[in-house]
Assembly symmetry: C2
Homo-oligomer: 114 residues x 2
Amino acid sequence: MFKKETEYALRGLVYIQIQNQSGRNPGISEIASEIDTPPSFTAKILQRLVRMGFIESIKGKNGGYFFDPDKSELPLKNVVVAIEGDKIFTGCGFGLKHCDDENPCPLHGAYGPI
Amino acid sequence: MFKKETEYALRGLVYIQIQNQSGRNPGISEIASEIDTPPSFTAKILQRLVRMGFIESIKGKNGGYFFDPDKSELPLKNVVVAIEGDKIFTGCGFGLKHCDDENPCPLHGAYGPI
DNA sequence: AATACAATAGACAAGAAGGTCTTTTAATCA
DNA sequence: TGATTAAAAGACCTTCTTGTCTATTGTATT
């Protein structure tokens, strides 16, 4: 379905969000253990999310990851597009170049909703 | 969305089916050129489809690929499952193990239809 | 039988995805 | 200030995906 990277990113973000709501900034080892992903790989993914501005982080003791409370809510779709590209939403299931609403392939109708 | 392999397989099967209906058994170079895929790679994929029993083939002059007319129609879903595995249909978009109808993740509702 | 044609088999290789590990940088606390 | 904690950076490795290429096997035509 999605790449592992996207999956882990989504799971991580959801976990961070939930913890933030309890006033906590979880760290990488907690996150990886709770969402059941490889710690180092997860760390790299979260780094990317920080660089892309989806979340913030602070180093050192009591450090961790958190959402900027000033920012508006983050649609998960943005994350998926940032990692997977938007072909996953705009592309054709058959990989056809000339598949659109006017020229639909057999799968087209089924995929519209998503 | 799907792997290239799956995409090419679906496109190839559809093309073969259409040609069969006109009484023709298209060969690999025609198929690859018409569905716009790399010939050698496409050949390998069609070989797999033959070995898996989805289509038949004959070698030599006037050879090519065709569907066994005695067999019942082939749901494309079977092809996708054969190549991608069934996680793509049964798995959770978040990669959660404990996501099902009773314990749905936020994406679950949206994916049910597919 | 010889030839030409076309699928099959399988070795090989480049690139992307998935994952580990070590070193560096920054924040806190004693 | 020094020790500790935790994120950042990046080198490195393995596996899977996406191909290419060559040799072989089988079929049909002449």
